[in-house]
Amino acid sequence: MEKKILKFIQLTFFTFISLLSYSQKITISGIIKDIDNSETILGAYVILQELESKDEPKGTVSNNAGFYSLSVSPGEYSLKVSYLGYTTITDTILLTQNQKTNFEMSPLVIRANEVVVTAEKEDQNVTSVDVGRVEMKVEAIKALPVLFGEVDVIKAIQLLPGIQSGGEGNSGFYVRGGGADQNLILLDEATIYNAGHLLGFFSVFNADAIKNVEVIKSGMPAYYGERLSSVLDVKQKEGNMKKFEVDGGLGIIFSRLTVQGPIKKNKCSFILSGRRTYIDWLIQPFLKKTSPLKGTNFYFYDLNGKINLIINDKHRLFLGGYFGKDVYGFNSESGGTKTEFNWLNAIGSLRWNYIISPQLFLNTSFTFSNYQFQTDMLMDVYSFKLKSGVRDYSVKSELSYLPPIPHKFRMGVHYIFHTFFPNSYSVEAGNENNLSFPEATPYYAHELAVYVHDEYEVNRWLTMNMGLRFSHFEHVGSFTRYIFDNFGNLQDSIVYKPGERISQYSALEPRFSARFLLSKNLALKASYTLNYQYLHQISMATISLPTDVWMPSTDLIKPQIAHQVSLGFFYNFHKNIYESYVDLYYKKMYNLSEYKDGIDLTSVSMNPDQLYTFGEGYSYGAEFFIKKAKGRFNGFIGYTLALTKREFENLNDGKPFYAKYDRRHDVSISLGYEIIRNKLYVSAVWVYATGNTMTIPIGFYFFGGAFVTEYSERNEFRLPPYHRLDLSLQWTIVKRKKFETGLNFSVYNVYNRKNAFFIFYESTSNLDIEHQQYELTTKAYQMSLFPILPSITWNFKF
C-alpha cells in the first residue's frame, strides 16, 4: 500500500518536472457560449492549424463549464470552433502571447435535424480516446418517440448497445452485465439514488431543464468512481442570460413548464422547470366506487431550478436543485385495505468555477442528496409502515491543468458523508403478541477519493488516457452491532460511539484507455479499468423496485470490485456520414451481494447487513453499432450479444446461475425521416430483447395437507422475449424567433405486444361433489403493463 502511494507521488512529481522544459508555448483560452441565451457549451471543439505548415492540427474540447484552453507555439493559425447544431466559427488568428478569447456560437438556422445520438465532432467516433463514453444531445433525445410525447433520457440511453433496460416496469438499467446499483447517476454532480418515476417508465430528468447527457460504460476515467459499471452524468441548463424564455408542453396525462431568464442581464440568470401528472384528477369522475383508485392520490412531479451567477472574468457560481416525488395510493374493493407508497429525491448543488490562469481551471462543488421511500398500509386492524432512504453531503474539488505539452491533467479530491436508513418497519396490530419488530439503526459512512488523470497524446496516431484513483471508505458509529449465535440467539451487542471507526477499506484503482488510429477512418481502442464500489443496493424481488435498500460496506459487507477490459474497432465511412463500431468486453466482479435464501421484505433483523450472502460474477459480450449521422433519413442500429453469470456459495447449491437480467440478444433500431423540412418529422424505434431469467415451479407435492411447490434451479427459465415498436410524428406548426409551437403525436407499443411484467400461477378445479370427482389444473398467466398507448402533446416556446 505504501509502495503504491509512493509511486503515485513520483508520477505527479515527474510530470511537473517535465512541464518546466516546455516553456516556449502560448496559451489561448476562454469560454464558449450560445449567442442567444449565453448557455455555456460543453464539448465544443477548438482546432488550430498552423498556416503554411504540414504539422497536424492541434485541438481541444471545452469542459463542463464551457472553458477551453490550448497551448501552441507562436505563429499564424487558422481557427475552427465547431459543435453540431451550431454554425462553425472559422477565422485566422495570429498568436504571439497568451490571450483570452471567448466565442459565441449561433445555432444553425436551418437545422439539419440530425438525430445524432453520439458524437459532437464529425470523426469523434474514430478519434475520441474516451473509449466507452457516449455524449447525447438533448435535441436528439427529443426526436425519439416516447410515451405521452415526453422525452426520456434513460429510455434513450437504453437504446445504445451495452445498456439495457430491466424490462417493463423496471426502473433500473444494466450496463454490460452489471447490476442496477452499479450505475452512478449524477445531476449537477449530486447523486441520484432512484432515477425512475412510475416504475421506471419515466426518468426524473425533465428534458427541458437538461443541457447535457453523458454515459460512460467502459474505460471509466479516474475522475469518476464510486460505481462499477457506468456513469450517467446529467447537467442542468443554466438559464438564458439574455432574455426571458418560456417553453412547455400540455399533454393528455401530464404537462411541463420551464421558465428561464436573466435576473441581471449577462450577469445572473435563473431557470425553473416543473412537471406533473394529473391523471388522478382526470379519471376520478369516471371511476366506479369499487375501483382501487377511487379517492386516492396517484401522481408524480418534478421541480428543477438553477441560478447562475457570473461574478467576474475568473469566477462563476451556480446554485441548483431538484425535487421530485411519486405518490401512488390504492384501496381494495371493500375499502378494508388502503395502501399508499411514495418516494422522493431531493438534491442541491452549489458549484464554483475559478479560472486561475489560462491553463488552470478549478471546479469546486458542494452537493446534497436525499432519497426516501415509504410504504403505508392499513389492512383491517393492522397498520404497517416501511421506510428506507439515503442521505449524502459531499464536497468535491477538481483542478484541470492544460499545459503546453501533449498532456491534459485533471486531479481532484472528493469527499462524501453518507447516512443510510435501511428498512425500518413499524407494525401495529390488534393483538398483543410480543414478537416485536426491532428498528434498524442507521449506518454512517465516510467516502473519500483522490485522483489524477492524464490525457496524453503520444503521437499523431496514439493517444492514451491514464489515471489513478485512490479511494477510501469507513463505516463509523454511532451504531449498534448485534451478535447472534448459530441458533439465532442474541448473544451480545456492541455499541459504537459517534464517529468511532467500525470498518474501513482502501483501494487503488488504475484506469487506462488508448486509441490507436490505424487510418484516418479506422481506430482501435482498448481499455482496462479496476473499480471499487462501496455502496450496495440489494434487490429482493425479481424486478428492481424502489423498495430495494441501499447499504454501505461494513465489516460484514465488503466493497464490490470489478476488472473490465474492452477492445474495439471504430470505423467511419462515406465522409463520416456513417459511423460504426464493434466493441468486445469482459468484466469480472467480486463481492457481489444478494439476499440469503428464504429472506423476504418482512424478515426481521436488527442489522440488515446480516441478511446478505456474497459471491462473484462475470460478463462478456460483443456490441455492434452502425449509424447514419446526417441527411434527411437518419438513424442507427445497435446489437449486443452478451452473457452474464453469478456464482454464490450459498445460493443455488453453489452452482453458477444466470443473473436475472442476463440478456443474450439486445437489438435497438431507431430511424427518423424528415418528411417536410423543418415542418414534419417522423421517427420510429423498435427494440427486441431476450426475456429476463426466472425461477419457475416445476412440480408440486403433498405435505401437511397442503400443496407444496417444487422450484427449478435459480434463474433457469426465461420469460418470453420483449419487443416493441414506437412511432412518433412531430409537426412544427409555427417556428419563428419569438415563438415556436408544435404538436407531437406518439404511439407507444404500436402492435400492442403484451410484454410480460411478471408471471403468476393459478389453479382451477372442476368439482363434482356428488360423484366425489375433482380435477385440479394449474395454469401460468403473465401480467403485462403497457398496451398500445397513443398520446398527443402540444409544445410551445416563447
Partner: protein, 308 residues
C-alpha cells in the same frame, strides 16, 4: 406478512391498467421425486405418508392421486436408539390428509430418544433420523375476547408459558375443533408454524394462537359453508377445542421454518423461493422431499363457555 407484500405488488401492477393472459410454459424433463411426511411423537405410534411429486402443470384427479401419487409398495421401518424396531404397515387412516399412511402399532415414541426411519422402495434405500426432546407445560390457557373481534362472543385462544432458559427451544402449536366436518378432522396449524425462543428466552410468553390454515388440498372440494368454517380464526360458544403444544429438535425446526412460507402462502412471484431443508437421504443420492420429525407433545382440551 408475505401476503401484504404480494398485495402491494399485485396492486401496483393492477393500477397501471395491466393486462393478463394465459401463457404456455414448457418445463424440461421432470423427474418425480419421493416425498416423505413422517413423524413420531411421545406416547404415539409413528406415522409416515409417502407420496411422489408430479409436474406442476399436470392435471390432478382422484385416479392420478390413487395410482401415481400415493406410494403403496414401500417397506418402512422405524428403529429407536434403544434398539426397538418395527416395520410399519400401510393403512387407511382418518388422521392422514390423504387417508393413507404407514403406521406402527407396537413401537411408541418416548422423550429423549432418537428414531431412525428407513424406507425401501424400487431398489433404493431412504433414511433419516430425528429425536424427541422433552415436553413442556403451559402456565395457563384460556379463551380471550378482545375489542377487535367484531362479532359478539367470538374469541381466540391465549396462553402463558415460561421458557426454559438453559435450552434453545423450538415450539409448535396445533388446534383442532371437535366435530365431524372434513374441516375439523385434521390438526390445523397456527401461525407462525414454528418459532424459537430467541425473543423471550427464559421469560414468560403471553401468546395468542392465530389459527391458520394451509392451502388445503381439499379447499377446492368444500362448499361455501365448509370454507367459511375452515378459514375462521375464532371460536364460538360451545366449541370444544383441542390444543396440542410441542417442542422439537433443531433439524425438525429447520425443516418447518424453511418450508413454512411454501406451505402457508404458496407462490409469491416476486421472491426467490427458499430451499427447504429436509433430512431424508437416498442411497442413490437423488433428492428427497419432505422430512422425518420428532415432537414432544402434550394436549389440552378447552370448552368455550362464554361469561355472560
Amino acid at each position: 406478512m408475505k401476503k401484504i407484500v404480494l398485495l402491494i405488488f399485485i396492486g401496483m401492477a393492477f393500477i397501471l391498467n395491466s393486462c393478463q393472459e394465459e401463457i404456455d410454459i414448457e418445463i424440461p424433463e421432470y423427474k418425480n421425486k419421493l416425498v416423505v411426511e413422517g413423524f413420531i411423537e411421545n406416547d404415539a405410534y409413528p406415522m409416515v405418508i409417502i407420496t411422489k411429486s408430479i409436474p406442476y402443470f399436470s392435471t390432478l384427479d382422484p385416479s392420478v392421486l390413487f395410482n401415481e401419487v400415493i406410494i403403496k409398495d414401500a417397506i418402512v421401518t422405524v428403529t429407536s436408539s434403544t434398539g426397538e424396531s418395527e416395520r410399519l404397515s400401510l393403512v387407511y387412516s382418518e388422521d392422514s390428509p390423504i387417508y393413507f399412511a404407514y403406521v406402527g402399532d407396537s413401537l411408541k415414541g418416548e422423550c429423549n430418544k432418537q428414531y431412525t426411519l428407513k424406507i425401501e422402495w424400487e431398489n433404493k434405500i431412504y433414511s433419516a433420523s430425528t429425536s424427541i426432546v422433552n415436553t413442556f407445560d403451559l402456565d395457563s390457557i384460556w379463551f380471550s375476547t378482545s375489542a377487535e373481534i367484531l362479532e359478539d362472543s367470538m374469541s381466540t385462544i391465549r396462553l402463558l408459558l415460561t421458557d426454559n432458559p438453559i435450552t434453545k427451544d423450538y415450539y409448535r402449536f396445533l388446534v383442532k375443533v371437535h366435530g365431524k366436518n372434513l374441516t375439523d378432522r385434521l390438526w390445523v396449524y397456527t401461525l407462525p408454524l414454528v418459532f424459537d425462543d430467541g425473543t423471550f428466552n427464559g421469560n414468560t410468553l403471553n401468546y395468542e394462537l392465530l389459527r391458520g390454515t394451509t392451502s388445503s388440498i381439499y379447499a377446492s372440494t368444500m362448499s361455501e359453508e365448509e370454507l367459511a368454517e375452515y378459514y375462521r380464526l375464532t371460536y364460538r360458544p360451545g366449541d370444544t377445542v383441542y390444543v396440542k403444544y410441542s417442542l422439537m429438535d433443531y433439524n425438525s425446526y429447520r425443516f418447518w421454518s424453511t418450508a413454512s412460507s411454501e406451505i402457508t402462502f404458496g407462490q409469491n412471484p416476486f421472491m426467490s423461493p427458499a430451499p427447504i431443508y429436509g433430512n431424508v437421504i437416498c442411497s442413490s443420492g437423488e433428492e428427497v422431499l419432505g422430512s422425518w420429525c420428532g415432537y414432544a407433545s402434550k394436549q389440552d382440551t378447552l370448552i368455550y363457555i362464554p361469561v355472560k
